[in-house]
Amino acid sequence: MRPIEYFKPTSLQEAIQALQDEGAYALAGGMDLIPSLQENILPAKRVVNLKAIGEELLRGIGPTPNGLQIGALTTLVEIAKNETVRSRYTALAEAAETVGSPQIRNVGTLGGNLCQRPRCWYFRNEHYHCLKKGGARCFAGDELGDNQYHAILGGGPCHIVHPSNTATALRALNATVHVVGPQGRREIPIDQFFVLPRRNIMAENVLEPGELVTHVTLPEPPRGFRSTFVETGEREAFDWAISGAAVALVMNGAEVAEARVVLHAVAPIPWRARAAEEALKGQRLTPETIQRAAEAALEGAQPLSQNAYKIPLTQAMVRRALQRLV
């Protein structure tokens, strides 16, 4: 491995400073970063370990005046087991408890999971200098490409899918991402946190160099609020999702007052299916409504040569998520 500078700051200021330089990467649980370094796909010069930073915001799960706050260094297992998250923000607990394997959940953090880099097999292979690594071509989108796991929505010119379970759940839960950087602190509504490749091919979110996620806040659930996250992979053992959905509903009696439907592992970002949300609003959750919403969710999907199966599969995911909330 090429020599990489290792830095373990004790304050946010030091961390921000250290992360501004080119080739600096933040290390929390290391579940994504360490393998990426081993794969030799990042131009890493410096690793900044965040775990010694004293800042309390970075850790734990606690109430705020209008909701819940979760520190970026909180492990996925803490989130999955937290009673408040389980009962009031169920989608997030379900998303966290289906990440990777027990070992990964014990070490992996919310911040790391939210900012996880894609698993595209071309991106992850050092021999393939793809668009996302500054290259001239997307191999997955090529007519000779193998793209069975790639995007059917929002793709182009790069066709990755966003791998993060918690990102999908947080989008359904309308979270706010709190970041700190050289310009100070800012709050980013989750709908504005992720970016499509056509806006920025090199990143999956709007974080600037030196910026760090400190914590995430979730709004107080209104009356009649319920949420869920479902996903499916190819196998039961540790596997990436090939499709999934997070759905949050505000029910007014038997009718849907508000809905957020977010598709998982089918687009370069957690994909908000606004047409599905419209199809649900004001409706009872009958099988017909659920079917209409599922079909609406996939409107505009543009499969690549090998991933058309994701359309019926994702419709099924939306149906299953909604059926759970009936």
Binding site: M1, D142, G145, E234, N307, Y309, I311, L313
Partner: protein
């Protein structure tokens, strides 16, 4: 002394019984040392240098930068080597740490002459396809001579049901959990080489290295105390062992060289793919009468994609032609029942499709066409164990979204014993040492050795000191073809009997009997039929005074046999919305003659089922067409079945008296054979349409169901 037959099974204390692995505690506590663990300190780390292109020649190599890197101790590169796959080895480096070795590999500048390449079979067969073996006469396609018998066309005229279809299987890599690896050390005069090898062939590695370095066999010592899987990919000495020894010689220091996972997946062998365009016919009384197939497959750049077809079932009229397709990818090696799972997946699909067309029960149809009496009875037992008569329906299942289905398949295998020798030494203190140069590739051979010696001496297996995996021990064959148990067990038995005879000669006068009258049983040496005239084992051995006795034995094949039968049945559910397959239960029935250790036999069956599940549902080597690399050379996207994917697995060892009377037969391979076929048939039964290719992924299930838009 003439070879004494096995005791009647009813009189056996350990053989045919459940004996826990003798090395279980060592393995689970980490005390067991593998090839890479051999030398704890001052051992250099070797790393392979690989070709980054699928078809290229290393024309110029500059190692000057790498040589300057502190900690680099040896660099060996093969200028002029032509590589036929991305990831082929062109040399290796040794350095004081793995990181430095990796850096050194990156610093080596190689100028490649690149040739056009082709990494997929469908591309390789095109008329203007790039030539895999660029620059020589070898074409990408080799058509084998047609084979067959009878009058196929006339038979099809008689058929009441005909099935036509195309079926295919993927390339499967061995995915040894312990990658290929070796630790090598020379003596200071370079006259003696010691190698700890992860190998299925201790003596094969010894002979290869001796020949390669111009040494006599005794100058090379190969040690394989433990190993973490080979499945056929570690059947002899080769590039890795030689390279480790060359690096160690160059550096004058021990070197350990282990493939990375990527190298293990791309360039350490695989099960070739198979494709068959088949047509088969049967009569309404349930006789398979006609079969024809055009088949092909790829063994990568090296060919060797043959597989048996027609398989298992008798068909009087058949015709087949096979074509080997070459691509720029890793080459085939023997893999757990080479060829058979491919033939099984294709043949069993044909059998089910014909049964459905005839309106017959698939098990009944098989029984009518299976020439093997044992297997016919096994099929009946399988039906009972699966509750087939009650649960099986022609399908598709009405359920939604889960549809239940059942399917079966069958296996045939040889499993005759290889040439093997053993030596048993009984010491005056009562200790018993068995030495046999065999390796235990994970199947439980060490325990088999102990069990056989225990059975013959009347001691417990734990009381036997088993020494295996060393080329200074009596010669034993390589572990391929499920030949080890049937080779080693007879050799150990004969050696133990011969050592006992030597002991009896000394003890007989003390017991005032002739040696022929003595037996070793229940921890004693005693006069047969007169237990009052007995010495404890320790007392008997004490009679030896200062001198131990030694017995030698070899497998003369009178205590073993060959040819085994097995069947497998699957009960599963298919989620027709997600395309996911949920296995409920898999029953595996396997004959293996005299069962030396029932417990480890069952674990081989379970292991075979697990590997079969993985082959059926998940594993797939995917070769990229643009740059020519395997794009899933890892365990992330080359997916293996995990614990959570396991159904209830029911291993049933066939213990009928006539089977036990046949002598020992190996069975590490056959349980894997029918699993994918049975799963494929169960999916077909559940959903009413066939997924024609392996692995059966959600994508293919949804496509078969026609729900894909």
């Amino acid at each position: 002394m003439a070879v004494i037959p096995w005791k009647p099974p009813a009189q056996m204390d350990y053989i045919t019984k459940d004996n826990p692995r003798l090395d279980g505690p060592a393995k689970v506590t980490g005390r067991a040392k593998y090839a890479y663990d051999a030398i704890a300190s001052k051992c250099l780390v070797g790393r392979m240098i690989t070709c980054p292109y699928p078809n290229a020649k290393a024309v110029r190599i500059d190692t000057s930068e790498a040589e300057k890197l502190p900690g680099v101790k040896a660099i060996l590169v093969e200028e002029g080597k032509v590589c036929r796959l991305a990831g082929e080895f062109v040399g290796a480096v040794a350095a004081v740490s793995a990181d430095i070795a990796d850096d050194a590999v990156r610093l080596i500048r190689i100028e490649w002459e690149r040739y056009p390449f082709v990494t997929r079979e469908e591309d390789a067969v095109q008329p203007n396809a790039p030539q895999v073996h660029a620059g020589n006469e070898r074409p990408n396609v080799r058509v084998n001579d047609p084979d067959g018998e009878g009058d196929v066309e006339a038979a099809f005229q008689q058929a009441d049901a005909i099935y036509e279809g195309t079926l295919s299987t993927q390339v499967q890599t061995h995915t040894c959990l312990e990658p290929h690896g070796t630790t090598a050390v020379w003596d200071e005069n370079l006259e003696h080489l010691t190698v700890w090898a992860s190998t299925q062939a201790v003596f094969g590695v010894r002979n290869d290295l001796a020949e390669f370095f111009g040494l006599e066999p005794h100058q090379v010592e190969v040690i394989t105390e433990y190993m973490g899987g080979g499945f056929g990919s570690k059947l002899g000495g080769g590039y890795i062992e030689r390279m480790a020894a060359r690096l160690a010689r160059e550096a004058r220091q021990p070197v350990k060289l282990l493939l990375t996972r990527e190298q293990e997946q791309t360039n350490s062998g695989n099960r070739p793919s198979a494709r068959a365009r088949v047509r088969a016919g049967a009569t309404k009384d349930g006789k398979l009468i006609a079969f024809e197939a055009e088949t092909s497959g790829t063994g990568g750049f090296a060919g060797g994609s043959g597989f048996p077809l027609p398989y298992i079932y008798s068909v009087p009229n058949w015709r087949r032609q096979h074509t080997d397709v070459y691509i720029n990818a890793g080459n085939a090696r023997a893999m757990r029942a080479p060829g058979h799972p491919q033939g099984s997946f294709i043949m069993e699909a044909v059998m089910d499709e014909l049964a459905y067309r005839l309106g017959m029960d698939p098990i009944e149809f098989r029984i009518q066409n299976d020439p093997n009496e044992t297997r016919r009875r096994q099929f009946r037992e399988l039906a009972k164990r699966l509750d087939w008569d009650r649960l099986w329906k022609p399908g598709p299942d009405e359920g939604f979204p889960l549809k239940r289905g059942m399917g079966v398949g069958a296996a045939v295998w040889g499993g005759g014993g290889h040439g093997s020798n053993a030596e048993v030494e009984i010491h005056p203190d009562g200790s018993v040492v068995v030495r046999c140069g065999t390796q235990d590739i994970g199947t439980g051979t060490r325990t088999v050795v102990g069990v056989v010696a225990a059975e013959q001496t009347g001691l417990s297996p734990e009381a036997i000191t088993v020494q295996i995996g060393h080329s200074t021990y009596p010669q034993s064959g390589s572990s391929g073809g499920s030949t080890t148990c049937a080779g080693v067990a007879p050799a150990v038995k004969v050696a133990t009997d011969n050592a006992l005879w030597e002991l009896f000669l000394k003890v007989a006068p003390v017991l005032e009997a002739s040696p022929e009258e003595l037996e070793a049983a229940d921890g004693t040496v005693r006069v047969k039929g007169d237990p009052s005239r007995a010495l404890s084992w320790k007392e008997a051995c004490a009679v030896l005074g200062q001198e131990s006795v030694v017995g030698r034995g070899r497998n003369d094949r009178s205590l073993s046999s060959s040819g085994t039968a097995g069947v497998c049945g699957v009960d599963l559910e298919v989620d027709v919305e997600t395309g996911r397959i949920h296995l409920r239960r898999i029953v595996s029935i396997q004959e293996c003659g005299l069962v030396v250790n029932k417990l480890t036999t069952e674990s081989q069956m379970i292991g075979g089922v697990i590997q079969g599940i993985s082959y059926a549902l998940f594993e797939d080597r995917i070769m990229d067409r643009m740059l020519g690399h395997q794009i899933n050379p890892n365990l992330e996207f080359y997916k293996l079945a995990g614990p959570a994917d396991m159904p209830e697995i029911v291993p049933i060892v066939w213990m009928e008296p006539e089977s036990l009377a046949r002598g020992v037969i190996g069975m590490g391979e056959p349980p894997v054979i029918p699993v994918a076929a049975a799963i494929g048939n169960a999916v077909r039964n559940a959903i009413g349409v066939r997924v024609n290719s392996l692995p059966i992924t959600p994508r293919k299930v949804l496509a078969a169901l026609g729900t894909e838009v």
